[in-house]
Symmetry: C2
């Protein structure tokens, strides 16, 4: 597996890229204790290398839970679309815990929970980078929140959010099982990332076309 591209996502930024079937996306936390939100859409059926995504086929937490019989994912997990198509396989995971329950943080969330207006957010960063691929913000589903630790109490349903699972250098490898448009964001929420916002590294192994880099 040859590394073909590396993007460094500065804190509170995102990216989107085309990931062809068989190629692997590595999401790495160089510092540890930092969450990365990941989402995927099917590449549009007739798309060429510069083509867009299909907003009607998206990474589905609910299908993945159902087929995997688990709310957690790790090495060996297959991540499914809403149409039951395998999109990604987790081929490596050095951290061990990730969240697939919660939506990406959004401007509205920071306003509602903390009374802060105009806060950078994963939803905003993902939407900005997915827009050139034809994916509107309103189509972004529950993201796979790598390194985020969310634990439900089975008796009450209550969830607790812990310190991110990643130590310095931890990574997750996601192999594309279909041609995809993938978005990744270095999570913008202070409380979710143990108080400080850190970068995320994104590598693509094998040839790939991407949108030119991380957001400023």
């Amino acid at each position: 597996m040859t590394r073909q591209a590396r993007l460094r996502l500065e804190p509170q930024t995102g990216c989107a890229l085309r990931l062809d079937r068989g190629h692997t996306l590595r999401v790495r936390s160089p510092t540890g204790e930092q969450v990365a939100d990941v989402v995927a859409f099917a590449a549009a059926p007739a798309a060429d290398a510069g083509g867009g995504g299909d907003p009607d086929e998206w990474l589905s937490s609910g299908r993945t839970f159902d087929y995997g019989t688990s709310i957690y994912v790790g090495t060996g997990s297959i991540l499914y679309s809403n149409r039951s198509t395998p999109m990604l396989t987790v081929t490596a995971d050095t951290a061990g815990r990730h969240d697939f329950l919660l939506t990406p943080c959004s401007e509205e969330m920071f306003e509602r929970l903390y009374g802060v207006a105009g806060h950078p957010s994963c939803l905003g960063n993902l939407a900005a980078h997915l827009a050139p691929f034809g994916i509107p913000a309103g189509r972004i589903p529950t993201t796979l929140n790598l390194f985020m630790v969310v634990t439900p109490d089975p008796a009450t349903g209550r969830i607790t959010i812990g310190v991110p699972s990643s130590r310095p250098g931890d990574h997750v490898d996601l192999r594309a099982e279909a041609d995809l448009i993938v978005g990744v964001a270095a999570c913008s929420a202070e409380l979710t990332n143990n108080g400080t916002l850190k970068p995320i590294e994104v590598e693509v192994h094998d040839p790939v076309h991407y949108d030119g880099g991380a957001s400023p």
Copy 2:
């Protein structure tokens, strides 16, 4: 609260209707041990009483989990859209346990898990009834699966599916906090409903416009 409409959903059927802000949808299990899948979309901004839904604003399990700090919903829970808009409030719940983790059963699910082709499904029934409101099948998110009991193990993430929580006559009341297009299906999966497929009753309290009845 006056009952304005009642639909009986025969086993393995669905319906969709417009639910105006302030009006209440009651979903009732006359027999018990039967799951009902519920989904909602914002009514399109300029819609009149016969208008459609906005496929970009939909009931979001992830937002609801985040704001409610729980994966379970019950009396008092507010159900949010992907845009952080309150869509529905649970104003009554005589059963006590519901699922918001899993996607509606689909033809592809029956094929993948059981090798059965052409099985009736909640996704199919919801899609058929939401289509006249301008909502394509590919926009249907994780549904609120009333009376379905799905319990995760916090250590492993493993989920178990139990017998539905409903006893004969149990119901859930959902008050609309915005103008909505709502879909309901009497779940089509034998194993999820303790082996037999049963009807679901849908009532609307206060004036409402709906699409004419349950599917055949």
